[in-house]
Amino acid sequence: MNFSRQFLALLRMNLEGEGARLGSVLTIVVGVTCTVAVLVSMLAMGTGAHRQAVGDVHEDEVVVQSKGAQGIQSNISRDEAVAVRDLPGIAREADGEPYVDGIVLVPFEGRRRGTGRRVFFPLLGTSDPKIALRPPAHLTEGRFFRPGLNEVITTNVCVRQFEGFELGAKREVRGVDWTIVGHYDQGESLQCMVLTDAETLMTLFGRNGYNRIIVRLKAPSDYETFNRALEANPALKLEAKRERDSVEADFKQFNGLLNFVSYFIGTIMAIGATFGAVNSLYSIVDARRRELATLRAIGFGSGAIVAATLIESTLLALPGALLGAALAWIFFHDMAVSPFGFSFKLDVSPQLAEIGIAWALIMGFIGGLLPALRAARVPVTTALRAT
C-alpha cells in the first residue's frame, strides 16, 4: 500500500517534470522512432512478400514435381503425367475429366518500363487452363489463347511493368512470333506471368515432359489418399506437396534473408538508441537529485524510486514506438518494391506494429535500469547540500 502510493506519487512527479527536460526526452523519442520505423518497414517487406506468395493459394490444389528437383529442373514424362490422372482423390468434371494441369516453364525476356533493364520471368505452358485461370484469376481484356496458334495471354502486371505487352503486340520466342491476345488479373500476385498452351510450347522447345503438374483435389482432406497412392506407384518418381507447403518452401529462403537483414539492422539500431536513452535518462535523473534526496529524507523507499524510474523510461519509449509504427505505415504501407528481382507490396500489419512497440518497450526498460539504480542511490546529505 505504502509502496504503491509512493510509486504513484513519484511517477507523477517524474512525468510532470518531463516538459522541463525537453532535449533529453526528445532524444529518447527520436531514437526510438527511427529504430521502430526502420524495423517495422523492413519487416513489412517480409510480410508483404509472404502475403503475396500465399495470397493466391488454393487449399485443394497439390503441386507434383519429380523427386528432389526444384523448378525447371523437375521433369515429368508424359507417361507419368497420364498415370497421375488416374490417382484417387482428384476432383472431376461432370464428364469424368480430372482436374489435372501439366505445366511447362521456359524463360521469357522483358524490359522494364523506364529503366529498360532486362528481367526474365517464366512463360508458362498449361495443358488445362481451367486450373491455371481458376477464379479469382480472370480475363479482363481481349480473349483466350487458341492452342497451336502461338498466342499468349499475360497478367495486367506485365503491361504496367514491362514494355511491349499491349494487346496485339508480338513477342519473339525461339524465332517464332507470339501474339498477345488477352490480359488477365491474378489476385494478389505482382509477378508478371505469361500463359500459353503447353503442347505448342513443348513442340517449339523440343520437350517431352512437364516441369510440374497441378492437381485439384475433391477436398483438401483428400491429400493423404492422393499422396499415398502416388508413393505406392513404383513407376512414378514424383513427390506431391500441398500448394501452400510448396509455396512456403520456395519462399523460405527469401523470407529468411529478409528477416535476417531486418533484425540485424533493427538490433544494431536498437542498441545505439538504447545508449542514447541511457544518457538522456542519466541527465534526467541527475536534474532531479535534490527532489529525490528530499523524498528519501522524508521516508520514500528506494524500491519505489527504482520502479518509478523504470516505468518512466518505459513510458518515454512509447510515443516513439507509436510514431515510428505510424511513420512506417504512412510512408511504406502498400508501396510496391522489387528488391532482389521480385516484386511485391510492403505490408505494415498490426502484428508488425506490435513487434515494433514491444521492441521499443524493451529498449526503454533496459535503458532505464542503470539510471534507476542511480536515482535510488542518491546520497541524501550531499545531494541536499549541493546547490
Binding site: C34, T35, V119, P339
Partner: protein, 381 residues
C-alpha cells in the same frame, strides 16, 4: 598543443556520458560501415568484373538454347578474338541430394584460362590437360566434401551416360580458386571432350562459349560482330561481357540502394539529435567554467574551437572504433554476396561523416560558449 590537456579534461568531465555517446556513435557507424560497405563493395565488384571476357550464349536464354560446337572456329576467326573455349554446364550431387555440385565442362586448349577468372597452379593445369577424366575442384568444395588430390569422386547427375547410368566418376588432379564474385563455390571443372563423348544426348552442343578478347575497349564491337555473324541463322547468339552480366545482376537487386539510404538517414538523424542534445547540455553545465576560462584570457574563437574539437575527437574516434568493428563483422553480412571485401573508401567516408555530425551538433553550443558574457555567467553561480 597546450590546449590538449584542456580538451582531454573536457572530454572526461563526465566519463559516463562520454562513454555512452562514444558507444552510440560507434554502434551507428558499425551499421554505416556494413551497409555502405555492401553497397560500394557491389559497385566495385561490377567495375572489377572483366570487360575483356565475353560470354556467347543462345539469343533466347542462357540455359535452354544449346549452341553447336561448330560455331567455335567461326568465332575464333573474328578480329579481336584471342581465345574461345566451349563451356557446358550441368548439375550433380555428391552422395546426398543436398550436396549439390556445379559441373563445368571446358576444353583445355592453349591459353584457355585467359577466358576464365580462375587461378590454377601450373602443375594442376598440366595434370588436367593430360587426363580425360581429370577434374579440378574449388578449394572450397574440396574442403567441404573432404576431397584430396588422387581421389575418385562419383557424382550423380541428371545427365545420363550412353549406357544409361547417371553416375559420373572423376579423378581430382588439383584445386583452383575463382576471383569472380557471386558465382557458385560448389564447382568442379572437367574435360568437355570426355563429357561430350560419354553423354547420351546433346552431343556436339555447348551451353555457351567463353571468349577472351585482345582489348577490353573492343568488347562492344566484338560482341556485336559475333552476334551479327550468326544473325538469321538457326542458332542466333547473344554476347555479353562479364561486366555487363554483373551490371544486370546488380540491377536485379534494384531497390536495395533506396533501402540502404533510407536506413542510414534514419540512423544519422537519430545520432545527430542525440549528440546535439548532449553537447548542448554539456555546455550549459559548464557555463561557469567556461566563464572562468574567458576571464583568464581565452578568446571567443578559442572557446568555440575548444568545444568543437572536443566533439570532433569523441565522434571521430568512436566512428573509427565502429568502422573497425564493421570490418570484422563485414564477412558475416557479406555472406549473401560472397567474395566482397570492405572497401577502404567506406572507412574514409565514415570518418568524414562522423566529423560532420560532430560539427553540426556542436556548432550551436560552441557558438553559445563563445558568446558567453562573463559577468552574467559567473553571476549564475
Amino acid at each position: 598543443m597546450k590546449f590538449l590537456p584542456l580538451i582531454w579534461s573536457g572530454i572526461w568531465r563526465k566519463p559516463g556520458r562520454t562513454i555512452l555517446i562514444f558507444l552510440q556513435v560507434s554502434v551507428a557507424f558499425v551499421l554505416f560501415g556494413v551497409l555502405q560497405g555492401l553497397k560500394t563493395g557491389v559497385e566495385h565488384a561490377v567495375t572489377a568484373a572483366r570487360a575483356d571476357l565475353l560470354l556467347v550464349h543462345g539469343r533466347q536464354d542462357f540455359l535452354f538454347s544449346p549452341l553447336p560446337l561448330g560455331l567455335l572456329e567461326q568465332i575464333r576467326s573474328l578480329p579481336g578474338v584471342k581465345v574461345v573455349v566451349p563451356v557446358e554446364l550441368y548439375g550433380g550431387y555428391y552422395q546426398k541430394e543436398e550436396n549439390g555440385v556445379g559441373i563445368v565442362a571446358v576444353r583445355p586448349d592453349k591459353d584457355w584460362t585467359d577466358a576464365f577468372t580462375f587461378t590454377i597452379a601450373p602443375e594442376y593445369l598440366a595434370a588436367f590437360a593430360r587426363s580425360r577424366t581429370a577434374a579440378l575442384v574449388t578449394e572450397f568444395v574440396a574442403q567441404k566434401y573432404g576431397w584430396k588430390i588422387g581421389d575418385h569422386i562419383p557424382l550423380v547427375s541428371r545427365v545420363a551416360h550412353k549406357d544409361g547410368s547417371t553416375t559420373w566418376v572423376f579423378d581430382v588432379v588439383g584445386t583452383f580458386t575463382d576471383s569472380d564474385v557471386n558465382v557458385g563455390r560448389y564447382k568442379i571443372l572437367i574435360n568437355y571432350a570426355y563429357y561430350d563423348e560419354a553423354r547420351a544426348t546433346g552431343t556436339g552442343t555447348v551451353n555457351h562459349f567463353n571468349v577472351a578478347i585482345t582489348d577490353p575497349n573492343l568488347a562492344v564491337p566484338v560482341a556485336d560482330a559475333i552476334d551479327k555473324r550468326f544473325a538469321n541463322s538457326s542458332h542466333e547468339t547473344k554476347t555479353e561481357s562479364l561486366r555487363e552480366l554483373a551490371q544486370a545482376q546488380v540491377q536485379q537487386i534494384g531497390d536495395l540502394d533506396f533501402l540502404i539510404r533510407a536506413v542510414l538517414s534514419a540512423v544519422l538523424a537519430a545520432l545527430l539529435f542525440a549528440t546535439a542534445t548532449m553537447m548542448m547540455q554539456s555546455v550549459r553545465e559548464r557555463t561557469p567554467e567556461l566563464a572562468v576560462l574567458k576571464t583568464i584570457g581565452f578568446t571567443d574563437r578559442a572557446l568555440f574551437l575548444l568545444i568543437l574539437v572536443e566533439a570532433v575527437v569523441v565522434c571521430v574516434v568512436a566512428a573509427g572504433f565502429g568502422l573497425a568493428l564493421a570490418t570484422i563483422v563485414f564477412p558475416l553480412a557479406a555472406r549473401f554476396v560472397f567474395g566482397l571485401a570492405m572497401p577502404k573508401a567506406t572507412v574514409a567516408i565514415g570518418l568524414a561523416l562522423a566529423a560532420a555530425v560532430a560539427f553540426v551538433s556542436a556548432a550551436i553550443p560552441a557558438a553559445r560558449a563563445a558568446r558567453l558574457r562573463v559577468v552574467s555567467a559567473l553571476a549564475e553561480r
